[in-house]
């Protein structure tokens, strides 16, 4: 098997071509990426300025939880990979070399993830998010898997841009929205809490995060309660 990036790219694109039986949906991109690297699952997080905006897709319940927690907590491998502009890997989540992500690590180990690998979605110098992989077995990536993951992340990034290129100016592509979970309810709740506390929406989001963490509830659930007017902040 050839090791040069062009050959890798071609092989992974071939796999994508072979899987085309319906329109190339974002979910298929996740699935093919996970298959190529031999991972248990994968998810795509859209990001800008170190902030996770929500998952474009995920392959299964555990990868959905991984994206969900990173969005809720604002911590995790996708945040680090985007911020540091390089892959971030943790081959043994239960016994990490460097303990990190205190709120994130526990729940995802409970959900069955033992290793996690995050690769920035990059086209040239432009970054638009992160491709997260998880595996139910601990262990490092081989050099081959690492190289394939880098190439996959490039293909995913380009595929997302091709989808967005079809959208009318100023709107988000319907293909990107199809399997996405952008948690709009959280932003609605942030708007409400900002009015309740008379603070900025940014501060309101911090308060919502703190509340959800302190009460061990997902940010999404807390936001649902705020929007349903079951929960109020302030007097």
């Amino acid at each position: 098997m050839s090791n040069d990036p062009g050959a890798r790219r071609l092989r992974i694109l071939h796999q994508l071509v072979d899987s085309v039986e319906s329109p190339v949906k974002t979910k298929r991109l996740c699935e093919v990426s996970a298959e190529v690297i031999g991972m248990s699952g994968a998810g795509i997080m859209l990001m800008s300025e170190d902030v996770p905006h929500g998952a474009v897709c995920s392959t299964d319940a555990t990868s959905a939880l991984i994206e969900d927690l990173q969005f809720s907590l604002g911590e995790g491998p996708c945040v680090d990979a985007f911020h540091q502009d390089r892959p971030v890997t943790e081959p043994d989540l239960a016994n990490p070399r460097t303990p990190r992500w205190p709120a994130f690590a526990g729940p995802i180990v409970d959900a069955g993830a033992r290793a996690i690998f995050a690769f920035p979605l990059q086209v040239g110098a432009v970054r638009l998010g992160v491709l997260d992989f998880y595996r139910t077995e601990p262990g490092e990536l081989t050099h081959d898997q690492h190289a394939d993951a880098l190439v996959s992340a490039g293909i995913v990034a380009q595929a997302l841009l091709v989808m967005q290129a079809r959208a009318p100016e100023g709107t988000l592509s319907v293909d990107l929205e199809a399997s996405a979970d952008f948690k709009y309810v959280v932003h609605q709740a942030a708007g409400m809490v900002a009015a309740q506390l008379d603070v900025s929406v940014g501060q309101a989001l911090v308060r919502l995060r703190a509340y959800s963490f302190g009460n061990e509830r997902s940010l999404n659930d807390v936001a649902q309660d705020v929007v349903a007017r079951k929960l109020r902040f302030g007097s």
């Binding site: 086209v123 091709v162 290129a165």
Partner: protein, 236 residues
């Protein structure tokens, strides 16, 4: 555009485009497929074909300067279910040659990137009959994969612009949701009612919805001062 030139030098990508043409035939049940890309000197260049007959026909299409792929490339719109029989064909020079090669129905789908058509996929069938909408969706997916494969040959500035648009679109969406929440809370409305009020205000004042939302979030437009009705002069 030097796209076709740089791809000719890159045999791997041409190989992939040929595979794509083969997959079109296999999955869509068409009899031949070909891929053309914009050439630096203008016009189109044949990049990949599922058969030699197809390649010859596509080359003829370019020489004759008429045919489904050229129409599709010129307009950026799909050319669908075009019968080649009869004297009223839209391609008087091309159609007889295609018929002689055994093809009866032609389709072409654009390969588009940010409003620019970079090429087209040609599909031909031997027997009369239309492509279903499901088949069309798959064919468009093939066109997308081809575009993805080709994208790495384009300037990084393209990716920069697209990424900015993507981020901007998502941020606009987020700020509208935040403003909905703020208006709902301040005016004691449901999310739908709050959204209706934001939209009405943006229409009445000819402002973009996301800009109104930003102003509401920043307190520049207090929630209470959003238009609650459409001015009489604007009613039909």
């Amino acid at each position: 555009m030097e796209l076709a030139d740089s791809l000719v030098a890159d045999f791997d990508v041409v190989d992939l485009l040929t595979l794509l043409a083969d997959r079109c035939v296999e999955v869509l049940g068409v009899d031949a497929a070909g891929l053309m890309l914009a050439a630096p000197e203008g016009g189109l260049r044949v990049m990949a074909s599922s058969s030699d007959a197809m390649r010859v026909l596509e080359l003829f299409e370019i020489q004759a300067e008429e045919g489904p792929c050229l129409d599709c490339y010129a307009t950026g719109e799909p050319v669908l279910n075009q019968g080649l029989e009869g004297t009223d064909s839209r391609w008087p020079i091309f159609a007889p040659v295609a018929l002689k090669a055994g093809f009866h129905v032609a389709h072409a789908l654009p390969m588009r990137l940010r409003g620019v058509t970079i090429g087209a996929i040609n599909l031909f069938t031997n027997s009369p009959g239309e492509l279903s909408s499901a088949d069309l969706a798959i064919a468009q997916a093939f066109a997308d994969v081809a575009t993805i494969a080709i994208l790495q040959h384009r300037a990084a500035s393209e990716a920069q612009v697209l990424t900015e648009q993507l981020t901007h679109a998502l941020n606009s969406r987020i700020v509208i949701e935040q403003a909905k929440g703020m208006v709902a809370e301040r005016e004691n409305l449901s999310m739908e009612q709050a959204f209706a009020r934001l939209r009405r205000h943006s229409r009445n004042h000819n402002l973009r919805l996301a800009d109104v939302a930003r102003d509401v979030i920043a307190g520049v437009i207090p929630a209470a001062s959003l238009d609650q009705v459409t001015p009489a002069k604007k009613r039909r």
